[in-house]
Amino acid sequence: MNAIIGTPQPRLDGPAKVTGAARYALDNSRAGMLHAALVLSPVALGRVAAIDDAAVSALPGIRLVMTHRTMPKLEEDKPMQEGGHAHASFRPLESDEIRYHGQPVAVVLADTREQAEYAAGILPVRYEARAGAVAHLPEGAPSEEEVGSLDVGDADAEWEASAVRVTADYEEPAQHHNPIELYGCLAEWDPMGGLTVHVPSQWAGGMRAGIAKSFGLPADKVRVVSPYIGGAFGGKATVLGTTLLACAAAKLAGRPVILQVSRQQGFPTSSFRPAARQHIRLGATAEGKLRAFHYITENQTCRFDNVSFPGGEILARLYDIPGMKIREGLVRTDVNAPGFMRAPAETPAVFAFESAIDEMAVALGMDPVEFRRRNEPAKDPVKGLPWSSRSLLRCYERGAELFGWSQRSHAPRSMTRDGDLIGWGCATAVYPTFISTSSATLRLTSEGRAEVHCSASDIGTGTYTILAQIAADRLGLTPDKVTVRLGDSAFDPANVAGGSTTALASGNAVGKVAEQARAALFQALTEVEEGPFKGMAPASLSLSEGTVRAGNATQSLAEAVSSLPRGKVEATDQWAHPEMPAKQSKMLWRAGSPQGGPDMQSFTALAFGAQFVEVRINPRTRTIRVPRMVGVYAGGKILNPRTAHSQLMGGMVWGLSNALLEASEVDRNHASFVNADMAEYHIAVNADIPALDVEMLEERDDKIGPIGAKGLGEIGITGTAPALANAIFHATGIRVRKLPLRIEDILS
């Protein structure tokens, strides 16, 4: 049989998605269901003084107006970073207090969505506003809370001794995920007090725990169902306030409630990538050996939670630098809680650092690829541990070859084509290999099929397909003989689909239970009276092409399973890396999110890549276009080159969008995100995306777990923005240190 793992398999969920058979959360409906619409506060700070619900309650179809006065009381839940499952500890309608612009202050329930939206639009609400709200990262604002600190060697002495020095400040704006599938849910209480929530979810098990906690229910009274997700990117990892509102409204109304949060209303009610600022100092010898790295940051958070994404400890793994000093801090602002967004710590950090590395290469007069080669670390500079595997330089070599980097004329403004300015830039892409744990169940059926159950989510990444491949590989089946069911809290616990952990953790869990099921099958077959394998040694049996064999005896898998007393074989187990402490891995069963890495006990693991880009700039209007991009990555074992390619390509597409287009603009008078729709919050369109070449190098990694696959979900986005900024410098001689990189930054 041909290898299944490592071959380009089409997405098993593809046909259902393109034919519309796949049922997303908001595709569901129930008899007697009510439609919810939100009323959002136009003030950022203050309180709700009065709501005249009588003014709309007589309108056609209106069934209920829920305000802070009528909202059922919720139990507290902590934000995910503090061990809970909430998006934010402060949740709307728990009191009359308003803490950010666009905070929900009322929910209107009606027979139709149009009726609910109309009433929500005219509901008279009187606000008492307080001045002084701030939603942007104020210029020069000092850190209010240190969330990351790392010292390697004597960074100050190394800086003093450096012959060449670069000092630069970088800045990134807030950004919103804007998945195609809007936020929302269908909440349904049953007569026994149980609650089922259909909600797009990266973590069915975590959301179940969070919703149960909030409503004071045992976890088994709540079920979260989310088989398909129309884009998540980190925004659908936690229990949003709006989800709780829909559940609460359904409880109050005694009927199922569906809430679809509009695009505009999704901005203030969901999480977002917080604004960030980095102050960098790099010191090097005249020969291009890095000596010192100082990294001071301020990241935006809200008033009520410490949401932090320190990226410094990842940057510290990129190059061999003897002196490093990293201090990362938070600045509080009057916004809803920020949250995870694809490579949350790494995306801004890598933009800043890889820009600074390019600035240093320029200062040294050195080819930026050669500069990186001279600073390649033999082992983890922070912990001194060996790398589980590391192929950064190979990525650069192959990328340079694919791109034609040797043709680069290194002086800024030295390349043109048809009158346009041409710039070539490169940057490192990196993402830590977080090693999580997962459980799974595998059942062999009397039809000769395998069924895999796991509560992990496929957020469009290909999880359905790779888990089927792994099960098929272990069981000698073709992937179409494997049914994978995911995204339901009733299934076996798994980690959040975050941190690029699912392929490795749930993949190993499925591999483990598949092997156990196979062993159990073999054992049982040797005990079947008058069966063909009766009395044989279980180890002498094999399973391939849907057939059990031993010596001359054969039996189809379907017949073999049918012959067993129970008519099925089932295995359930958890996989955890041997270096994960048992105390940590057990947290999986309490809806925790156990995660090790990048440094484990005996090794440090990260995935690396190299990106090369070309920019083409109109010499007059300074319009920035990107004719081509090359990304070469090494991510351990590539389970499915087809879905992995999409992951990496999608990451680079977003990387371009992140670099050139995306910013949630803050109106300082209202402390609001003002460009709250797809017309004004620009994401890249097809026409922006160039010839995009993605290649994956072979990389063997025996340390991270049996399937040896590093997560690829997030690395693609890192590196694109600095590569583009570096290319723009090369084209124009202008260094832009603030995202997005815009026309006005290079106009003069």
Binding site: L40, T621, V674, D677, E680, H682, A687, P740, I743, L747
Partner: protein, 334 residues
């Protein structure tokens, strides 16, 4: 969305009769109006759907006057071979706008009536918008105003007119044909869009109940060497940060006729007549182009968020002039 009555008009007379009622609004492609109704910015009591009104359809680019029925779709007009060859600026202004799906739905008449993209206008959570609620103020003046106008604004409003098509039409002295309860009239396009002044809520010269029925463009040989330059962050599906429609007629290496109109920079389509005059009789070189481009932006009144648009506007004019000049050379060579 506010409940509304719907009437599908069978003829222009029928449409005008229903359109005279209180709270009526005409519906053509729906790509602006329906959006704005969904988000509560426009709240008509009744919609008069014009789609079945036959005389508003079709277009003719063959005669001495090009005539575009108001209901002709952006897509069909942009695909017209005569327009593409003889008036590339007009065709490009349509092709560079919106997306293929929207161009199939949107009409060339409705295009001139589309509402501004000002974010404060389009979000009812912001109370201050003189366009949405006259007298309430303007949140954009000291708000986020990167995309706002540096030309033609007032202390009451600096929202840009978003149409690309209107800008190109302005360069060609187009006119619009209007039918109303009092009969029909025709007016030049540069008086159709109104400078905001005290009343930014009034955007066009249309009176209550009137329908824009057609767009007229006098034939012009300079059309062949015209172009529409559109600057935007995104390659497609974005409104202009700045744009310029330019048409040139060259004689003996000198500019015999120049037509320049600006978009994305102004509250109305902005004809740069002083810049046109400056170029007349001169050769097109770096210095004449730069002078003309600077003149085109005379009177600009920027804010901190859009100060770069004064320089960008100049560069856009230069870019458009260069491209039109290149077309003139290619035409001579052919």
């Amino acid at each position: 969305m506010q409940p509304f009555a719907y009437h599908r008009a069978s003829s222009l007379e029928d449409a005008l009769r229903h359109g005279a009622m209180e709270g009526a609004s005409y519906l053509a492609g729906g790509t602006t109006l329906v959006d704005l109704m969904r988000i509560g910015v426009m709240r008509p009591d009744r919609l008069i759907d014009l789609r079945d009104v036959a005389e508003l359809r079709g277009f003719d680019t063959g005669g001495e006057t090009l005539r575009f029925g108001a209901l002709a779709s952006m897509a069909e007009v942009a695909d017209d071979i005569v327009l593409r060859q003889d008036y590339p600026a007009l065709a490009e202004s349509l092709l560079l706008a919106a997306s293929a799906q929207l161009r199939n739905m949107a009409t060339v008449g409705g295009n001139l009536l589309q509402r501004t993209r000002c974010m404060y206008f389009r979000d009812t959570r912001y109370q201050a918008c003189n366009k949405r609620s006259p007298g309430s103020g303007c949140a954009a003046l000291d708000g986020v105003n990167r995309q706002h106008a540096v030309l033609g604004g007032s202390e009451r409003c600096i929202a840009t007119m978003p149409s690309d098509w209107a800008v190109a039409l302005t360069a060609f002295d187009a006119a619009v044909e209007i039918a109303g309860p009092q009969g029909r009239r025709t007016m030049p396009i540069d008086s159709f869009h109104i400078s905001y002044g005290e009343h930014p809520e009034a955007e066009t010269a249309l009176r209550p109940g009137e329908i824009l029925t057609a767009i007229l463009v006098p034939a012009n040989r300079a059309g062949r060497t015209s172009c529409y330059a559109k600057v935007r962050d995104r390659e497609s599906f974005a409104f202009a940060i700045s744009s310029a429609a330019v048409a040139l007629r060259m004689e003996g290496g000198r500019v015999a006729e120049a037509r320049i109109a600006l978009g994305g920079l102004s509250t109305t389509p902005w004809r740069a007549t002083a810049a046109e005059a400056l170029l007349r009789g001169r050769s097109l070189d770096e210095s004449s182009m730069k002078e003309a481009a600077a003149r085109a932006m005379d009177g600009a009144d920027p804010r901190p968020g859009n100060a770069f648009k004064v320089e960008l506007g100049r560069r856009t004019v230069e870019d458009a002039l260069l491209r039109a000049a290149r077309r003139a050379e290619e035409g001579d060579a052919a």
